[in-house]
């Protein structure tokens, strides 16, 4: 598992040459100024396969979807070469390229829609609203979602991973950790998310503790809340403990 701390960095994971096979195909159509409804399939297939070869040569990581599209193109090409049986009966047999053309058209629209969003994003980035005030205790009203908890856990785990060198075998049960978390909450209304993991130095212990916390939340014995989105998470004791 990859514990990345900086949430901004994992957005771009691969070299964005082409977003996918449709993107590449669209690029080839536009580059050669082709009619989308009358694509010279032999030429474009050759062109497309050349790009795949280039990707290989450059050692670029490309998804399997690129190969699926290559086989689709070759399939269309072969269908166009073979005389269709139905043409005798039906005046207009369906062009084997029609489905692909429709997909390209649709994809291009969404690409354009994405660029409209991009423009708005750039404009909006330059406009600032008031920043949230420092949270007060009674502001902790937003229920933290599983994603928030996972994010917070990753931050804790990331920190520990850096510090720990020694591996110790230990036997720790979720049930034990549940009791320990509850005892941490004794005489308190809440504790900080991080405090639950303080002093824990192995990944195994961290994971067991996290599972214990999830179990407590699931059984509604504690609540995880935050004052604002992406804010610190506090673990609150349920007003009335439910007896299992």
């Amino acid at each position: 598992m990859d514990y990345k701390n900086d949430s901004g960095t994992d957005y771009k994971v691969r070299l964005e040459v082409f977003e996918g096979p449709l993107d590449l195909l669209l690029h080839l159509v536009r580059k050669n100024d082709l009619d989308i409804f009358n694509i010279p399939i032999a030429e474009i297939t050759a062109d497309y396969l050349n790009y795949i070869k280039l990707f290989r040569k450059l050692n670029l990581d490309f998804a399997g979807e690129f190969l699926v599209m290559a086989s689709t193109l070759i399939h269309i090409k072969s269908r166009m070469l073979l005389p269709s049986i139905e043409t005798v009966e039906e005046e207009e047999a369906e062009d084997p390229r029609a489905a692909l053309a429709a997909r390209l058209m649709e994809y291009e629209k969404f690409k354009e829609a994405a660029s409209i969003l991009k423009e708005r994003e750039v404009i909006q980035k330059g406009i600032y609203g008031r920043l949230p005030l420092l949270p007060q205790d009674e502001d902790y009203t937003i229920e933290a979602t599983l994603f928030d908890l996972l994010d917070a856990f990753q931050r804790v785990a990331f920190r520990v991973e850096k510090e720990v060198r020694e591996i110790i075998q230990e036997d720790i049960k979720v049930e034990d950790r549940i009791q320990e978390i509850l005892s941490l909450l004794e005489n308190k209304r809440f504790i900080n998310f991080e405090a639950i993991f303080s002093g824990q130095t192995t990944k195994r212990l961290l994971i067991v503790t996290f599972l214990a916390l999830l179990e407590l939340i699931r059984s509604k014995m504690v609540f995880a809340r935050q004052a604002r989105l992406f804010g610190d998470i506090r673990i609150y004791k349920a007003k009335r403990e439910l007896v299992a």
Partner: protein, 177 residues
């Protein structure tokens, strides 16, 4: 309540709030003043800011109103406040978002059909950023999850509501060449 007073109270509330406030919310706080009167007061306030070339503006975003800085002064704000200003969405994220925006509620499979690539990673990141939300499950075998855009989506792109994005029919592909 006097019209002028109503407007001033709204200004206070919009100045203080860190998120867009809806007309309903504003009217509720002020107790007096109907929906229409509140709306009129906000619009007056909006015009006032515009007329005196203020550094601030009253924006109509995410089905509410918020006082924000003007874009042309972003340079100065950035000198004061540096955090989180450089983050921008990747192209796959924007493409996926636009598909969700137009086709919502939409399943992962439907998105992948359009983009021709796996969407699970991008969807997860968009969920984490709260730009999309899970709106339910489709009544199909496997009950696939349905995705829709969120309030945060509107706020992030400065949209009043979804009607502000051009319809798919209006979108023309860029001239080839």
């Amino acid at each position: 309540m006097e019209k002028e007073e109503l407007k001033n109270i709204i200004e206070c509330l919009l100045f203080f709030s860190d998120k867009p406030l809806s007309i309903e919310k504003l009217a509720e706080i002020m107790e007096s003043g109907s929906f229409d009167e509140t709306k009129e007061a906000i619009e007056d306030l909006q015009k006032e800011y515009e007329l005196r070339n203020s550094g601030l503006q009253v924006l109509n975003i995410a089905q509410g109103y918020q006082i924000c800085t003007r874009g042309e002064f972003s340079h100065w704000v950035r000198k004061l406040y540096k955090a989180e200003t450089t983050f921008q969405l990747s192209l796959p994220a924007l493409e996926t978002l636009s598909i969700v925006a137009y086709k919502q509620p939409v399943t992962r499979g439907e998105i992948e059909n359009i983009r021709g690539v796996d969407a699970s990673y991008v969807l997860r990141t968009l969920l984490e950023k709260r730009l999309i939300r899970i709106s339910g499950r489709k009544k199909l075998p496997g009950r696939p999850i349905l995705y829709a855009t969120s309030q945060e989506f509107l706020r992030y792109f400065g949209l009043k509501d979804l009607s502000e994005i051009p319809s798919l029919e209006e979108i023309k592909p860029p001239a080839s060449g």
